[in-house]
Every structure is written in C-alpha cells, then in structure tokens.
C-alpha cells in the first residue's frame, strides 16, 4: 500500500523490516490523514521523496524523523547533569552581577542616576552635543514613564559589555599572537555570528532555568563578544611592523611591547569593537526578553503578544533612543583616542 513497499521487497529486506506490529508513533502526516479521512490518503504525492517518514511506512525498522529530534533531545537531557555541574558554578557570578546591577540601577534614585549617566557620557565623549543629547533622551524616557525599564536594559548592557571586553580582549590578544589559535577560533566566531539569535536560546533554556538571569546573560555575551575579539586581534596584527621591529631592536620584553606599543596602537580598533559589542548587546537584550530578560524588550514583546500597538511602538522608540545614545557616546570616545594617536 505504501509507495516504497516494492523497494524493500526487491532488496530482500522484509525480514529486517520485520512484521512487528507497527506500534511506532504516528507521524504528523498520518495524523492529518486520519483527521481528513480517506480522501487525504488519496491526495498524497504519487512519487514521494524517500524521506525517513515515507520509508517508515513500508519498513518499521527505519526510524521516523521525530525519532531523530527526540534522540537529540534525549542526548541533551542525558548530558545536562554533567554540563550543568560544570557550567553552573562557572556562570553563577554572572547571575549575581546581573541581579546586582539591576538592583543597583533600581535603588539609586533618578536624581542621582541621571546626573551620573550624563557625567559618564561627558567623561567618555568630551563632547557637549553628545552629552546634552544623552541628558535629553534619558529625561524624555523618564517623562513617558519608561525610566525603570530603560535602566534595566541599560544595566544588562553594562554588565554584558563589561564581561565581553574583559574576556574578549585577552582572547583577541592570544589570537593575535598565534596563527594556529586564530585559525581555530575564527570558525567559532563565524558560527556565533551567523547562528540566528533565537537558536542560541534553545540549548541555554535546556541547561539553565528561565528564572536565572545568567540564561539571558550568556546568550547576550556569546553574541556580543565576537566583535571585540575580532577587532582586538585585527588591531594588534595591523600595528606597523617597523614599529614592532624597533621595539624588538631596543630589547622590549613581550609584556612591554604589548602594553607600551601594541595595545595603545590597536586601541582605535578595539574601541570600534567595543562600540559594536554594545550595539549587539542591545539587539540581543531585546530578543532575550523572550527568556525573561527584563527591560524595554518586555514591552515590545507585550506589544506583539497582546497586539498593544502603542506599548510596543513606544518601547521600540525607547530602544532606538538608547541605541543612539550608546552609539554616539562610544563613537565620540573612539574618535578621541584616534585623535591622541595622530597627535592632532
């Protein structure tokens, strides 16, 4: 009755297939067919692709595709305790930091927080325009009662960017020193950047519970750390070879070279990487609201789920404002280090 019966017969595989009562779970197509009655079966394709599900109809020993996905799931579940026992203590500080930052941004009253943020923008950018824009944007967000959520988003970005830089710069330095390490790392970085952001979340949800902040913390860091690593590596490799040769000729140790020559000269590139990292954290923190990351993203999600158009759009505009603030401040800081390098 099934299309591929004949194939198994001619191959003499009937015995292997076995007459064991077909107690395999029904495939989706079968279910649909049942629901649709006889007519559905008649409407099936004349020459179906020999997929697992179609072959299974003729031969019970062939697994169904759902067995495959189930196998992966079982595999994950089996590995989970071991993975968890390693990863849990390792990543626990991330939860503390995120929770701490959220708490801190929450308890510090606005009349201290806003001037503080404005002062930081001034210190980083040394640009009047940028600083005034930051002050204006934050006040605007506060005025439309989005201060709290905006601060939540901001605190998560601060923590995740900070950790990305702390981990990413040393990784980038190591990569710049070893070609084989670079060759090994680049595909991983490519993977992290091309993997659709939602796909990150799946294994993480399995490993950690949705109530833990590190779940979204890890997702954000994995996604956002890539540009810092790449541009640190690139920046150090791009340092003028003549200058490095001079450093060697005067007997600098590799430490003196790194701190006195390579890092300062790579700084503009590293800063460009940090700028991208900040922007990518922001993009990811919105998506991470799916796995309980607080902040503006939650309102966007509410807009989508409940079709509350206004809520979603206002939150969206808030995100854009934050993005512009973060971008302008970090870009202004970047152009400042570039200036000192050329010596104006």
């Amino acid at each position: 009755m099934a299309f591929y019966d004949g194939v198994f017969k001619t191959l003499g595989l009937e015995d292997w297939c076995g007459e064991a009562a077909s107690n395999a779970p029904l495939s989706m197509a079968d279910l649909l067919a049942k629901a649709g009655g006889e007519k559905a079966e008649a409407a099936g394709p004349i020459f179906p692709f020999p997929s697992l599900d179609h072959l299974n109809k003729s031969c019970d020993s062939v697994i169904q595709t759902r067995d495959l996905t189930k196998g992966i799931e079982d595999g994950f579940l089996a590995a989970k305790p071991a993975l968890k026992s390693v990863l849990d203590p390792l990543t626990q500080p991330l939860s503390w930091m995120l929770d701490g930052a959220l708490y801190l941004f929450n308890v510090v009253p606005w009349f201290i927080m806003i001037p503080l943020l404005v002062a930081i923008s001034w210190y980083a950018s040394r640009s009047k325009g940028v600083t005034i824009f930051v002050a204006f944007s934050i006040c605007l967000l506060a005025f439309i009662d989005h201060y709290d959520v905006a601060m939540q988003t901001l605190s998560i970005i601060f923590v995740c960017t900070g950790i990305s830089v702390l981990l990413g710069v040393p990784i980038g330095i190591a990569m710049s020193r070893s070609d084989s390490l670079q060759r090994a790392t680049v595909p991983v970085l490519d993977l992290l950047q091309t993997l659709p952001t939602f796909v990150y979340l799946i294994p993480l949800i399995f490993l950690f519970s949705v109530t833990e902040s590190k779940l979204y913390g890890i997702a954000i860091i994995l996604y956002a750390i890539v540009p810092v690593i790449r541009l640190t590596d690139l920046g150090i490799r791009l340092v003028d070879r003549d200058v490095i040769e001079a450093a060697n000729a005067f007997g600098m140790s590799s430490r003196q070279k790194l701190i006195g020559v390579q890092l300062p000269l790579a700084l503009p590139n590293i800063m460009a990487g940090i700028n991208q990292t900040i922007m990518m954290s922001l993009a990811m923190v919105v998506i991470a609201s799916l796995v309980s990351a607080p902040g503006l993203g939650v309102n966007v999600l509410r807009g989508i789920r409940n079709l509350e158009l206004g809520v979603g759009i206002v939150a969206g505009v808030g995100i854009v404002l934050l993005a512009v603030i973060l971008d302008r401040v970090s870009k202004a800081a970047l152009s400042r280090v570039d200036m000192t390098r050329v010596g104006h």
Binding site: D240, A246, N248, A249, F250, G251, M252, S253, G260, G343
Partner: protein, 348 residues
C-alpha cells in the same frame, strides 16, 4: 690594527625558507640565488659573509636594493636568525645567548636607526627618545634628562612635546638618532637611515653624524645604496652583491682598484676629484723633486687642482700635520681621476 674587532661575522649564511638548513648544502656547493629560488623555492639572503667591524669606526655596507644589506644588519642583533655562521660582539657569541641575554645586549650594546624612522606614533618626541632607557627600567626623571640632552644635541630643542607626525622626515630621523644615542650603546646600527630624506637634508644629516662620531667614537654600522654617502662616511667599506661580499676594505682603495665589474659600474660615475684624497694617490718622497708647495694628506684632489691652477707639470709635498709623508705628482693625480675601466679599455 686593533686587538679585537668589535663585531665579527664569520661564515654567515642566511636562506629564507622553511628548510633552510637542508638547502644550505646546495648553496655551499655553489648554487646561485636564481637557481635556488627556481629549484628549491628558497631565497638566498646572505652567503659566506666574513666581516670584521672595528671599534670606533664607521663600517658602511653598500649594495643595490635586494643585495641583502638589511638582512645583514639585522643579524647583528638577531632580529633575523642566521641559517649558519657565527656572530661575535666583543668576542661574545651572540648565537649562544638566551632570550634574556639577547634582550640584554639589544638594550645595552646596540641601538638601531631605521629607514622609516619607526618612532612610536602615540608617544611624544621626548618619550620616544627616552624609550631605550625606560625599557631598561631606569629612573624616569633621569631618562627624561638624558632625552632632553640628546634632543638638544641633534638640534631638536623645543620639540620635546610634539608628536612624531607633527615633524618633517628629517626631524623625525633626528629623533631616531637621538633615541639611539640616548641608549648610550657602543654600537649603532643604521639601516638606510638617510635614504628616505631629501638630498639637502641628507647632507645635513651626514654632517651631523660625522660631527657626533668625532666626539663619541661609536662603532657604527651604516647601510646605504648610495656610493657618495658610503664614501663620505666609511672608514671601512663592504660591498654586497646577491648576498655575498664582492669587495671590502678602505674606501679609497676600492675606488682606485675595484676588483669586480659590478663595483666598476658603481664607481664609474662618481666625482673622483671630490672623493679621492691626496693620501690615496701620493707617492714616496724623493729629494730630487722641486716642490711647488705643501698640501695635507686629507685634502681632496679637487682642492689640489684648484691650488695648482690646472698646471700638470708640478709636484707637491704632502704633510701629515707637520711631518712630510710623501709627494704628489700632478700627472698621477690626473691619471687617478680616470676610472680604471676606461683606462684599461684605452690600453687594449
């Protein structure tokens, strides 16, 4: 003349490529640079270099671009590792040094001046100049004082707080020289240090170097592709071709007796009257000659021609200080002005 050369290169070979030690055999058996590249895909950098560099002298290494000059000078402080051979500095085998030992001699024995200056762009002129001392971990205030002193010496007082990018090429190279002098090393390595500069500024820099050398008596290894520059600076001239030494010795001697067509080409269009000194063409004293006047051993032939007013029938007594050391017949002078290539052709 001196007891021990400051720097000695002994049977030095350098081949660029992954299995340089293996293909070395072919080079020792006489394979040429082109064949080595074609058959083994290795580049012959240096072959069988034997050079002694005396303390307090300027040794100039000259050759066309690609002849291996930069490769040679980078062996002295092992910025490039040799394939085979010995490098001795003050009798000490540089190849036997540990990593720290090597850093030690780079910090304390040799400083380097680069063709493209290679200053740290993010540091001021003064910080750049103090760098060699700071690397050694010396007291910052003392480093600063030393840097200021040498910057003034090379004529850059007042530019301490500029950044290299704010200075002209000539001024940047003065910083490069001040940096090397601040290191206060016996040996100075200069790789085409003046080649990137305009001709007028280049002459200034050569004069500056000679003036400093008169005072400091460093052992300078100077690379150039310019024969005029080589003749002006060299106490000892080494001529490289395709990674091998074709002739070395006292520059005037090489000019008068080139032993290779390659060198004859080099020296054929030089202004010999300006470069050659009386010392190189004078003959022994003989009492019978009537002298038209006295000249100094260090005078150029050009000067003598103007003294004699173009008269070729005369002879001059040559003095080294106060003592007569020889005599110069103007006819010998005129002969010396003609490069050997054409004179040998004329004889044919």
């Amino acid at each position: 003349m001196t007891a021990q050369p400051k720097v000695r290169l002994r049977n030095l070979y350098k081949i660029f490529g992954p299995i340089d030690k293996t293909v070395l055999e072919h080079v020792k058996a006489g394979m040429s640079k082109d064949d080595l590249l074609a058959q083994h895909n290795h580049v012959l950098g240096l072959q069988d270099i034997n050079v002694d560099m005396q303390a307090g002298e300027i040794t100039v290494v000259m050759g066309l671009s690609g002849s291996g000059k930069s490769t040679l000078i980078r062996h002295l402080n092992r910025l490039i590792e040799p394939t085979a051979g010995e490098i001795l500095v003050d009798g000490e085998d540089v190849m036997a040094l540990s990593k720290d030992g090597l850093r030690g001699i780079r910090q304390n024995k040799m400083s380097m001046v680069f063709q493209k200056f290679a200053l740290l762009p993010h540091r001021t002129v003064q910080q750049n100049t103090a760098m060699p001392l700071l690397v050694r971990g010396e007291d910052p205030a003392a480093c600063e004082a030393e840097a200021v002193k040498w910057l003034e010496r090379v004529g850059l007082a007042g530019y301490e707080n500029h950044y290299p990018a704010q200075l002209s090429g000539g001024m940047q190279q003065r910083v490069g020289i001040a940096r090397a002098l601040t290191a206060n090393t016996d040996i100075m390595l200069m790789d085409e240090a003046f080649s990137a500069l305009d001709p007028l500024i280049r002459t200034d820099m050569q004069d500056l170097l000679l003036e400093l050398q008169k005072e400091l008596h460093k052992t300078i290894i100077f690379i150039t592709h310019d024969l005029d520059e080589a003749l002006k600076l060299a106490d000892h001239l080494v001529i490289l071709k395709d990674g091998a030494v074709v002739q070395q010795g006292e520059p005037q001697g090489i000019l008068l007796n080139p032993n290779d067509p390659y060198i004859e080409d080099f020296v054929s269009d030089i202004n010999r009257a300006r470069v050659l000194r009386v010392k190189s063409v004078m003959g022994p004293l003989d009492d019978t000659t009537q002298y038209a006047g006295d000249v100094d051993v260090g005078d150029s032939l050009e000067k003598l021609i103007s003294i004699s007013g173009g008269e070729t029938g005369q002879a001059y007594r040559v003095l080294d200080g106060e003592t007569p050391v020889g005599q110069l017949d103007m006819r010998d002078l005129v002969k010396a002005l003609v490069p050997r290539v054409s004179s040998s052709k004329a004889e044919d």
